[in-house]
């Protein structure tokens, strides 16, 4: 039997179900890998050796007792630290939540546990999921397994790096403006943002509630679809959860893997053509699209005239919602409290606590949001951004009248050097240029490895209509059959 850390989640699940591998051995192999490489990668903020082995042992016992196992039973998963895990630290990459152990599991975590999946630990991220490089983590950056001097993307750099470094076969991310897809692209892995409302937000530490969407990170499209199927579906605990059936994403991924895209129409957004992708990224994506055409797809140019305003609209809407959501960190019910000397007032202690507990990017966004929501500026900033959001959604709807999916680069540039963009926050924001439109619209989008540019991975993004998550998996899985698999250098 091959090394479990190099196997796909689908194969691991099959081998565990058939009794060819024990869940405990699979978990131990991944914990050993983490022990061997994570000092250099720093994908994890917390590893739960004991809990993971106990969960794996329960799966082995269930199998021995003849109980039926799901396709991912016994398969390890790493969870982004913004998702609550009962009894396990959940800091969202922030000092303000250092040491906090949530008293409950997020719905998606409960569903993974019910499916027999083994939570290995919590992954590093930009503080409160605000960033595109994981450098804004309060606990130090994560390093890209392709080149340890480069960023792994963000905000979910830890989840994608853990997958790329074979520390976990699967991981959970959250995508507000690209935080699953962009790390996937720059680490040569798959990252999928489901339809907003398709996966529950209950137990996500909120950043921007109208945009936050949890989803899967994996090394193959089929693996991502398998995890998607476990976590998706209506949750009465999330009032924006869609009460509709989950599309057959696994079936769609398997259909796509047959390599036939006859009759599928791919839309190229005209307004993206002139915008900012590095030549090496543009070339790799162009070759990927040519590969899709060889599989039978047809390419149609479409116009989405308001996409160029997606980035500015997003950087008003998301900070506005963040300034409201992060007001809950007041040093009273959980988390850090600083400066409580018995003399200072609640408000003073609150201000000192928040000053000490939040990093610079979080402070910037809280202040931008406070500005955009203040009475004199509301209409011109937040209100106007919400109208632009409507126009962007209309652009998508019009495009999907003529094409099945849209394709683009996932991010304009490959993994950059650590420190290259931290001094100029707006330069960091540009990483999200192509991912943000789908967040504002709510439809699903996936990043698939498509090739290399100067030795670094490039991702191709497939965007689909709301609730047509299956469509993006089909195209993504087809692409996977037509391009060489990206394997990072040995660590």
């Amino acid at each position: 039997m091959s090394d479990p850390t190099r196997m796909t989640a689908a194969d691991l699940g099959r081998a565990i179900g058939a009794g060819d591998l024990s869940a405990v051995d699979v978990t131990r192999a991944h914990l050993d890998r983490i022990a061997a490489v994570d000092e250099r990668v720093h994908a994890f903020l917390h590893v739960d050796n004991e809990g993971a082995l106990a969960a794996a042992a329960r799966v082995d016992a269930a199998r021995a007792a003849g109980e039926p196992l799901g396709p991912l039973a016994g398969v390890p998963v790493a969870v982004k630290d913004v998702v609550t895990t009962r009894g396990l630290p959940s800091t969202a990459g922030s000092k303000i939540l250092e040491g906090w152990r949530p008293p409950y599991d997020a719905t998606i975590v409960a569903r993974m546990k019910d499916a027999g999946m083994v939570v290995l630990g919590k992954t590093n991220m930009d503080e409160f999921a605000m960033g595109s490089s994981t450098e804004y983590s309060a606990y130090g950056p994560t390093y890209n397994p392709w080149d340890l001097t480069r960023i792994p993307g963000g905000s979910g750099g830890g989840s994608s790096a853990a997958i790329a470094a074979y520390e976990a076969p699967l991981a959970i991310g959250t995508d507000t403006g690209g935080s699953i897809r962009q790390p996937g692209a720059v680490t040569g892995t798959v990252g999928a943002k489901p339809t907003y409302g398709g996966t529950s937000r209950y137990g996500l530490i909120a950043f921007s509630s109208s945009l936050d969407t949890p989803g899967p990170c994996a090394r193959t499209v089929e693996d991502a679809a398998l995890l998607h199927a476990v976590i998706a579906g209506h949750d009465p605990r999330d009032s924006t959860s869609i009460p509709a059936a989950v599309p057959d994403v696994v079936g769609a991924a398997r259909l796509g893997a047959t390599g036939d895209l006859s009759g599928v129409r791919l839309g190229l957004v005209r307004e993206f053509a002139g915008e900012g992708a590095e030549p090496g990224v543009a070339a790799a994506v162009r070759e990927g699209i040519e590969a899709l055409v060889k599989l039978g797809a047809e390419v149609v140019e479409v116009s989405c005239p308001h996409f160029e305003y997606a980035l500015p609209a997003y950087y008003l809407i998301a900070p506005s919602e963040c300034s409201s959501n992060l007001a809950r960190f007041d040093g009273v019910r959980y988390g850090l409290r600083v400066g409580d000397d018995g003399q200072r007032s609640l408000e003073e202690v609150m201000s000192i606590t928040r000053e000490a507990g939040f990093g610079p990017e979080v402070k910037r966004r809280i202040m931008i949001g406070t500005y955009a929501l203040s009475s004199g500026y509301y209409d011109a900033y937040y209100g106007q951004a919400q109208k632009v959001r409507t126009l962007i959604s209309r652009d998508f709807a019009a495009a999907f009248e003529t094409v099945d999916v849209l394709v683009s680069p996932t991010t304009p540039f490959t993994a950059f050097q650590l420190g290259a963009r931290t001094s100029d926050p707006y330069q960091m924001y540009l990483a999200d240029l192509y991912t943000i439109p789908s967040n504002l619209y709510g439809g699903p989008a996936i990043s698939v490895p498509v090739g290399l540019s100067d030795g670094l991975p490039v991702g191709l993004q497939v965007m689909a209509p709301t609730l047509a998550d299956d469509r993006m998996y089909r195209v993504a899985a087809a692409l996977e059959t037509a391009v060489p698999r990206l394997v990072p250098p040995a660590l």
């Binding site: 009032s239 609209a313 300034s323 609640l346 202040m367 959001r389």
Partner: protein
């Protein structure tokens, strides 16, 4: 022309309950100015008659059945608190704020 002054940033920090330092104010004033100038591009879009979108899911008034469900026991609800007294969250003084 700057979109935002250092004094305005200091005001935002107060509204945001952030006890920022002078050095931070210097840094944030420049950075917020760059960001606000960039995001102000939304004003180029003619959108007077366009309805705003707050949310992409067309659901309103979502209710669940009025059934009693177990909730967190008091000890667990208080377990993460920075300070607890008599089974409650203890907070710094809230009176005489202006004194």
């Amino acid at each position: 022309m700057a979109a935002i002054s250092r004094d305005e940033v200091a005001h935002l920090a107060r509204l945001s309950r952030l006890a920022v330092t002078d050095d931070e104010l210097d840094m944030f004033a420049g950075q917020l100015d760059v960001i606000l100038q960039a995001v102000a591009r939304v004003s180029e879009v003619a959108a007077a008659d366009i309805p705003p979108t707050s949310h992409s899911v067309p659901l309103t008034n979502v209710f669940r059945d009025d059934v009693v469900e177990p909730c967190l026991p008091q000890a667990e609800a208080l377990a993460g608190a920075p300070d607890v007294a008599d089974g409650r969250f203890r907070v710094p003084r809230i009176l005489d704020e202006e004194a």
